[in-house]
Symmetry: C2
Subunit: 392 residues, 2 copies
């Protein structure tokens, strides 16, 4: 049900011809009446910032955090496209504004796909009007599908919470992302809607916190995209919501979308939930978790279903964090495979069964302090290489 | 001719039975007369330090930088093996000392192979005496072969220079390493011999500098090993050598070995020479070079022979260094593919021919300052995964 599970929002997806495959490649999410609502965004920190990200930032700044619509295309990232790319992003917003009935800076724009190719505006421009007309309260799933690049399934979520006066508010979301997923965002786009009432500053804070415990805890290949964007539109029709309640709902929605991304990551056969405890600080735990999650050798061992704790220990030892080989404890699927400086006896059948599953739990305790971190990641497979060895 | 190209050194390799394959797995390099000479070592900074590294450090400290022999085994890294592993490393030195006729702390020891399995001392111990007896001035290549793990060819080098009194001095080396290669060392072992006269403190400084411009400029997969060791034995029989001359010869020898490692890296089909210029500092250049070299997506594009500059720019933009998308210039094989914020016209045939070669030259100018860095790296192939998905 996704973004349109929230009353007052409409969406649609269509095929305008960006992708040679003929798959859907243009999406729109908007308020049903075209009126602007509270809006917030969290964006990539990559300095090779794509034009649509620059457009979003400018628009949110000029409106003080208001937007009526988001237009998205897949198949082309409109990144490293210079001034013409910036003009194209603006033109997508202008055409959307015209169709929806708002001002250009009340439209946000996202692009995802290959970097460095001019956006095919001759395909996109004529498709925007019909797409706006096609938007409906049932259109969320179509929008999610039209955002996909190498994703094999659309990603959507719905979370509900209780408003200040005992009513119900809803958070809905759609997302895409299957590679270049890394803390500090990824090649990922997400649009989140809610009917909770919240001001722009609070919305930005809550969205940033939600991203911090969800998308920023997801790494597939350590590569940070030029286009990563998470947008929130909040209509306020459900009335005031306690900040903590809205924060929790946003975090739950984003975490759900992040795990869906890991499950569908390019070529991956395993989703790995890595928890690090016992570091001297949360930051050291996160550094160890991230280095380990991004280690090609460790990723290969997951693909091989091999509980090779030696590489886990070696990565933690090389992470530049407080470390003692005799204090580290490593467990797969709850079974301790290494502790007190020695290999531990395990139930081989149970361990093999865990390693053969789609989802792996890897717990590492460093025995140094109280710092913890959690990260979701994936293995490295032949199929990942196949998907990334050629741009065409 | 390797380490035994240097007068006064002997070496040998043999098969003691560590490897199930029956390939050579035990090597020794020593002075011909068993007398200790100047010795220096540079070791992994991984805190999951393997017992043989601890033994080397202890021995060099207790002798003040003197050694008569190095004993090495492949097939088992004696890493994460705790106190028993430390005792095994010491026993390898004791047995070698007995056979060579020096003291135990005048022996250095290296192990390479899988992490976390006890060293099979019942195979190693009885083989050390016969190996010492077999050492000869022709034995360097056999020693190089017995150090190999997933290497497909032995690595050896010989460099000559001029001594202070106009004579000739020689530097010889053997090395192994085919994965877990990364700045700050790698799963690599190297033994370098010379007849130049040098004191232990100077030898250590010069070796560290040589490692800095060679092995530390090599990254295959961003993984730092628990066992990385570079050892130098300097007999002094050629007489005094100007420090700069010895430093140059050591750097040349180490660089030659490092490039041989890249050429033979696990499953790699490309050796990539990445030069970054125009950074605000050498440190920022090195950070950009390293992040790009270790990026899975970039490595996949090399495997696919795809000059995909978009990912190169995106990695540099995400490296946390001074960066301007309009100032970056990217060239493959001397052909500028991206500059001034736009794709550049290229000679497609010449570019394709370069990308199809075994060695790629990638030059990135950031346009920010005078900082430079140089790194050798490899692509990411199906074969890399095959080699690393199982420990057995």
């Amino acid at each position: 049900m996704s973004v349109t599970a929230v009353p007052g929002f409409v969406a649609a997806g269509s095929t305008c011809g960006i992708k040679p495959s003929g798959a859907p490649d243009l999406a729109m999410v908007a308020t049903a009446d075209g009126a602007p609502v509270t809006a917030a965004g969290v964006f990539t920190s990559n300095l090779m910032t794509a034009p649509p990200v620059l457009a979003c930032r400018d628009h949110l700044a000029s409106t003080g955090g208001r937007a009526a619509a988001v237009v998205l295309n897949s198949g082309n990232a409109n990144a490293a496209t210079g001034a013409p790319g910036r003009a194209d992003a603006e033109e997508m917003c202008r055409l959307t504004a015209e169709a929806v009935g708002c001002s250009t800076d009340e439209v946000l724009v996202c692009s995802t796909g290959w970097i460095g190719f001019p956006l095919p505006m001759d395909a996109i421009a004529p498709a925007i009007g019909p797409l706006a007309t096609a938007m409906s309260p049932e259109g969320g799933p179509d929008a999610a599908r039209a955002m996909m690049t190498t994703d094999t399934v659309p990603k959507a979520t719905v979370v509900t919470g209780t408003t200040a006066d005992g009513g119900t508010f809803t958070v809905g979301g759609v997302a895409k992302g299957a590679a270049m997923l890394e803390p500090n965002m990824a090649t990922m786009l997400a649009v989140v809607t809610t009917d909770a009432a919240v001001d722009a500053a609070t919305a930005t804070d809550l969205l940033r916190s939600a991203v911090g415990v969800s998308f920023n805890c997801l790494t597939v290949d350590g590569a940070e995209s030029t286009n990563d964007t998470v947008l929130l539109l909040a209509s306020g029709t459900a009335g005031p919501v306690d900040e903590a309640a809205l924060g929790t709902a946003l975090a739950d929605a984003c975490r759900d979308l992040a795990v869906q991304m890991a499950d569908d990551a390019e070529g991956s056969t395993k989703t790995v939930f890595l928890t690090v405890t016992g570091a001297t600080s949360d930051a050291e735990a996160a550094k160890g978790a991230r280095d380990t999650a991004n280690c090609q050798l460790v990723k290969c061992s997951w693909y091989g279903q091999d509980p090779y704790w030696g590489r886990i220990a070696a990565e933690m030892g090389a992470a530049g964090i407080a470390f003692d080989p005799d204090a580290i404890t490593i467990a797969y699927g709850g079974q301790v495979v290494y502790a007190a400086g020695a290999v531990q006896p395990v139930d081989e059948d149970a361990l093999s069964a865990h390693m053969a599953g789609r989802r792996l739990d890897l717990d590492v305790d460093l025995g140094q302090g109280d710092g913890t971190a959690w990260i979701v990641t994936t293995d490295l497979s032949h199929a990942y290489i196949d998907e990334n060895m050629r741009t065409s």
